[in-house]
Structure formats: C-alpha cells, structure tokens
Amino acid sequence: MNNIRKNRLKDQIFRGWGIACTLLGLVLLAIFIGSILIDGLQRIDWDFITSLPSRNAENAGIYTALMGSIWILVLTTIISLPLGIAAAIYLEEYSKKNRFSSILEVNISNLAGVPSIIYGLLGLEIFVRILEMGASVLAGSFTLALLILPIVIVSTRESIKAVPKSIRDASYALGASKWQTVSMQLLPASFGGILTGVILALSRAVGETAPLIVIGALAYVPFAPSSPMDEFTVMPIQIFNWISRPQAGFEVNAAAAIIMLLLITFIMNGIAVYFRNKWQKKLK
C-alpha cells in the first residue's frame, strides 16, 4: 500500500471514530433528556411552580427551591462580579509582571479546579461559623461566590486581554490615564466577553449542590426566603431530596424539577452565546 492511500485510510478511520464518539455523547444526552421529559413534563404546571413543599407528592411544588435558587443567583452575582472584575483588572493592567504575580496567576487557575465540596467546608467555617451568618442565603451566596470567583477572574482577564493593544496605545497616546483607559475603553470593549464568562460561571453555581449541603442548606424549608439571612434550599438539593423518597410520585416531581433546572441553565447559556456573538462582531 502506498503512503497516500495509507494516510487516506487513517484519515477515514479517525473520521469514523470521531463521529462515533460525538454521536455517543449526543445519544446518551438525548436518551437522558427524553426520559426526563416523558417522566416530568406532565407534572409541570403553574401549581407546581408556585406550591410550597409538601409531604404529599401531588401537592408538593418547587416554589421554595426555585426562590432559593434565584436568591442565591442574584446575591452570588452581586458579590462575585465586583470582586472578580476588580481582581482581573488589577492582575491584567496594574500588577507588575514578576514572580509574585505569576505565582498568583497559576494559583487562581488552580483554584478553578478545587472540588466544590472544599469550598463548602471553607464557607461553613468562615461564613456560617466565624462570621455567624448561619445556614443563610447570604452564607450560601458568599460560598458560591468564592467558588466561581476564579472562573470570573480568568474569563474577565481573557476578555480584557483580547482587546487589541492598539486600542490601549491610542488611548494612552491621547493622554488618558490608566483608569480612564480601563473604564472608557477596555471594559466597554470587553463587556460582552466578561458577561459571557460571568453567566457561564453562574450557570455552574446554580447547579451546585455539595457546598450548599455542607454549609447546611436544608432539604425541607417551609417557606421561600424573604431576606438574605433566611434559611433556604435550592433546586438541585430539592431534586436530590425528592429522588431519595420511596414514593413514585416524588420521582415525577424530581423529573419535573430537573427539566426546570435544565431550562434555567440552557437559557443562561443561550444568553451567554448571544452576548459572545454580539461582542465578537463589534470588535471586528
């Protein structure tokens, strides 16, 4: 066999293998989503969304968990956004490039890979106990904010770095200070990218379970939180709780809740993709 034919054969084998792998992933996902939809879709109605939890599967609703998740999302955003963006701006534009800053950089990337339960333990110690926040929405939000902070920082830095150097040059050459260049050129130009990173990080936070269980988020909370200091539960914990019940009715509830959780993450990812595309167009 000559070389060209050999290469072509290799090419085709790899192509087939690639297609098979891709399909495997897609098929598994489709089966999973399909079976969830079959189980849960009929359960989703306005009642399910607005009902409080109950011992009785037919009456039980997702309301407290949904509200808990929304509270967590909003507070986590409020906490992580300014911290993450400020840290990214500092690292990217202000800090001197030396040993210390490169150690800092590597460690921030490493933090993104720390298992989330470790963040839960940290949150339990610092926010729940030392700062005496208790198992509140606030403690949960701070914990998740820490969890996603590295992702926010890294993605913000990438977006700022993607702004062409020529823009910086132009701004400085006109007599702009560093802060003016950052706030009037770099941030607006990288806004879409930053938003994308933040939304993706938040869509991870909304699915987190372990760290919140560790800090003491409860499976059963009778009411939706009405202040940051209230007890709370979130959707993934509610799902876990329902699935572990013996009665078949709760399994349907779990499926319905999974659909809603997936919907939330899909919507968030959709928004992220939208902003990314819009932003890429603007820079060109």
Partner: protein, 266 residues
Amino acid sequence: MSKKEKGIVIDKSIKRKHKLETKGVKVFYDDFMAIKGIDMTIKANKVTAFIGPSGCGKSTFLRLFNRMNDYVDGFRLEGEVRIDGENIYKKKINVEQLRKQVGMVFQKPNPFPKSIFENVAYGLRIQGINDKRYLSEKVEDSLKQVALWDEVKDDLNKSAIALSGGQQQRLCIARTLAVEPSIILMDEPTSALDPLSTAKIEELIYELKEKYSIVIVTHNMQQAGRISDYTAFFYLGELIEYDRTKKLFTNPEKQQTENYITGRFG
C-alpha cells in the same frame, strides 16, 4: 462655553516653538541596546523624517518623545530627552499632560470601536470636557482639518470601524488634533494605505506643519523627499546622518546614507 470657563487653561505658548532634543540617549530592552547614544535636536514647526532599515530603532526613538516606550517590559533609558529644554523623563513630569502636548499617529489605523464622533471627542472627554456644544464644534473643526468632514458629517454616530482604512487614518489624525498638541509623532502613518489615501495624508501633513512640529517615520524615500524639511538616517541604533532633506538626498556626507537612499544597501 469656552474652554477657560471649564477650568482648562489653554497653554498660549502652543504657538511658541517647540524644540525636541536628546542628549546621549541610549535605550535598552533588557540587555539589548536598541539606541546607542544619540544627540539630536529636532526643529520646531518643521517636518522631520526618520528613515533607515527595519529594526534600526526609528520607532523606539520616536516613541521616546511621548514616553510610549514606558509600557514596554524591559525598557530602560539613559541620557536625557528634552522638550523646550525640559527633561521629560524627570520624576515631576505628568505623563498624561505630556501626551496631550505630544500627539501620536500609529502605523495601523486604530480607531476606537465607538462612533466617529466619540473617537474625536475622546481626547477631550478624558480632560473632563463634556459640554455638548463645545465638543461638537471641536469635532467638526478637527474633521475639517483632515478633510474628512464632508465624507462623514451625516454619519457621525456611525461606528468608526466601518470607515475605509484611509478614512480611519485621517480620523486618527483628527482625534490627535482635537486635543491641540503642539508636536505630532507619526510612525509610518501611510504604510497601510492605498496611494490615494497616502497622497491625501501627505497633503495634510504639508498643511499641518504651519502649526505643528511633525516627526514622521517612513520607509518610503519619495515620501520623505516630498514632505519633509529635515531627514535623519538611522542605522543599527545610531544616528548616521541628519540634515536638510534636499541636502541629504542629493549630496549625503556619509557613504552608508548614500547606499541606503540609492537602494544599494547590504
């Protein structure tokens, strides 16, 4: 509202002659010496061209005058760079203020991803000037100076990115003029442009020299010959020859200069 009422003092000395000087200037990038000791005086209200082969240090030397090299990692300067006799690298110098006085136009047009209006207004906005009428006047004025006004007056809110390369470069010059510098540095401003746009910008430079001291880096000998009063030839980080353009192109003192301008460069 006039500029004075806004609390900004226009330096009337702008009309004064602004002389650029270097004394024993050496520039290092880490251990590499890019400029090897240059003494030079650049005359006010003239066009001075920097020529020389790629990598000889023209851009490095040019960017000394508005301190744009400060951002380069490993950059280090020895010697003095003076504008009107004042060392612009001494501690007390306000770099932002300096750059308002010494404008710069880059090789590749680099408009901000903002509207045409905001591009020109940016240099004023960062000085705290936000008066709508004053900005409008200033934008119109600057765009007229670069002969771009008629082409864009109906699209001031359109993105500057949509302009052609030549228009973008004229916009960048307008943006520089809007802050009323007295010195303009240009680093190969036409090398990315078509001949027609190049001609327009050369014409513009010719008009601007009435009011500004202009230093321009160019790889185009004809361009240097057409627009400059003085020409400086650099080679390997040294200033080889610096003279009236006519003299340097017709009767250079140094063999190296002659080789370079006649294209016999090895």
